[in-house]
Structures are given as C-alpha cells and as structure tokens.
Symmetry: C2
Subunit: 180 residues, 2 copies
Amino acid sequence: MSQEMEYHISEQRLHIRQIVIDAIAETMDLYGGTPSSGQLYGIMFFENKPMTLDEMKVRMNMSKSNMSYAVRSLVESQMVKKLEEKQDRKELYVAEVDFFHTFQNFFTLKLQREINVMTEAISKALLELTEIIIDEHITDQERNLALQDLYKLRHGQTYYEWLQKFVDALKQEEYFKDFA
Amino acid sequence: MSQEMEYHISEQRLHIRQIVIDAIAETMDLYGGTPSSGQLYGIMFFENKPMTLDEMKVRMNMSKSNMSYAVRSLVESQMVKKLEEKQDRKELYVAEVDFFHTFQNFFTLKLQREINVMTEAISKALLELTEIIIDEHITDQERNLALQDLYKLRHGQTYYEWLQKFVDALKQEEYFKDFA
DNA sequence: CAATCCGTACAATTAATACTGTACATTATA
DNA sequence: TATAATGTACAGTATTAATTGTACGGATTG
C-alpha cells in the first residue's frame, strides 16, 4: 500500500473519531461542561493511553493554562482520573471510558450536592415556618398562608428522601444489574 | 395584633421563602439554568396561582423581554407550564410544584436528546469503521487501530441501549413506585 | 375596522465566562 | 544544593451569554 493511502486511512479514522467527539461536545452541556471540555473528553476517550497537559495542549491547540483548568473540571466531575504515577515529571490523566461509570459518578455527585443544599434549606425553612404557625398572636389568614408553604416544603422533603434513595441505589449499581 | 406585627410576620414568611428560593437558584446549574431562572422558578413555586409576564417582571425586577426568554426556557425544560386560558389578554404560567414530575420531565427530555445525538453519531462511526476494517488493502496495524475504536463504540452503544431503558422506566414511573 | 395591548424578535449593552500569557511556587533531577 | 521543568494562580483579553430597550406583528376589544 502506498504512503498516501495509509495516510488517507489514518485521516479517515480521525474523521470518524471526530464525528463522535463532536456529538460528545454537543451533549456536554447536560453535564455542565463547555463544548471545548467535551472535545477534550472526547479526545481522551479515544486515546488509548494516559495524556499529559502538553499533549492536550497540542491536540486542542490551546494554552497549557487552559488545559490545566479544563482537565481539572473533568476530574472534579470524575469523567477523567489523575493517575498516581508520572511520566517524565508530567502528570498523567486518563478518561473514564466506561459510560456506565461516568453516568454513575456524575449523577451521584451532582444530585448529592443538590440533596444537601436543598434539604438544609428546607429544614431551616420548615423550622421557622413552624415557629410562625404555633405563634398564638397571628391571624388565621397568616397561619393558613404559612401552612400552605409548609405543606409544599413537606412534599419537597419527601421528594429529597426519595432522591437520596435513588442516589444510593445508583451508587450500589442497582439499576445496572441486568446489564453490562 | 398591630399592623406592624402583621407586617413583620409577612416579611418573615417571605424571608423563609427566600431561603428555599436561593437554594433552588444555587442548584439550578445542574438543570442547565442560570441562577436568575432558578429564582424565577422558586418564586413561581411558592406562588399559589398562575403568573403573568408582568407579574414576573415586577417580582424579579427585570425587563419583560427577559422574563419572556427566562420563562420560555423553563417551559422548554418543562419546569413551568403555559396555561391554555388567559387573564385579561395575558398569558398565564404556572410552576410544576411536584419535584417528582420536574425530575421525570427534565431527565427524560435531556437524556433522550443525548441518546439521540450519541446513537446517531456512534452508528455512523461504526458503519464507517466497518468499511475500513473489511478493506483488504489496509495494514494489520491500521485494522487493529480501527478495531480498537470499534470496540469502544460498541460498548458505548450498549450503554445507550441501557440508558434508553432507563429513560423509558423513568417515563413509566418505575422508580417512583414505592413512593409518593 | 380602528385602537390598544400582549409577547417576542432583534440590536445594543452589560455581565459572566472562557481562554491566554506570564510569573512563580513546588517538585524532581543531577 | 543548584538547576530545570511542571502545573497553577493571576491578571488581562476575548468570547459567549444574559439582560435591556425598542419596535413590530398579531390578537383582542370596543
């Protein structure tokens, strides 16, 4: 086979990868990332070895500084792992290529944060609402208004209890059982 | 009870609401919204009647134009419903107050979009990769590289088959069964 | 059917975020 | 311990997104 032909095949394979990488970049917003962090994850997804910041810099045609930030956010949402070992002093990063894990990691992380923030706020609100309601000096109208809010928040509370169980089940891989 | 006291209670109840509204605004990023669209949803969550754009404008202290955009994005992610009927020519909007439904609506919508975009890209990529692989003129090395990509995408494909089932189950309220 | 008013598209502005270049702390190497 | 090189903080720039004001199409009323 000619050199040109080999080159052509190589180019074509990169083009095929790019189709998928672009799709990842397009859907990255659901995971709170920018298109370019989607591109980066896509590149790392196909790379069959760990990457250094310098390699990312070249492949993304961006500054190393920015790669440092981008990869950090990917690490934070656990789509990329930082390895313990280094290569020629350089840190190594590798993409989580198993989408089951990325799904699991991302949603347990983000939903847990929501649960924490919301349950704290709701608890605090319920406590203060109760104080209003049991106050003997308020009008019936005020009490009823406070009660309305209280019922809504109680319902919210049950939701977050459910969501906590959902997240726990996700952690335990309950939903993956009959698969993969 | 004095007027001042009543006023105080009213203020206090609004303050309590604000605690929860701020928490919603803070976690809104998980749902692809801005803090201000979170504020808007929070306000509508506590409002016990449908709201008009003008009311939102006042409550949010923002332009009507912007309220039009903000509420549209909330309607698109199905956290807010536009009612059929109007009030004095004005359109009416009401928040989905059941978090079980907001969860269900949002994730079936967004995950389905991801499934569609990704499966299309993966299918296309697999087709083109297969063409490379069955080509008798390529080197073993090239074939193996193509095969590596193919295996990864095959695995991705199984993931999206699972995710489709997950979304379907979410639609069917499978995960809510023992609750709410 | 004229007058009014709602909602939204669009351009302009403002705010937020992404990205770059540099400088420096830290760590590894010799 | 001196030297070299990595990764990141930070300030500055560019790009993107959010918000405003305006103008206008379309619907509604009288």
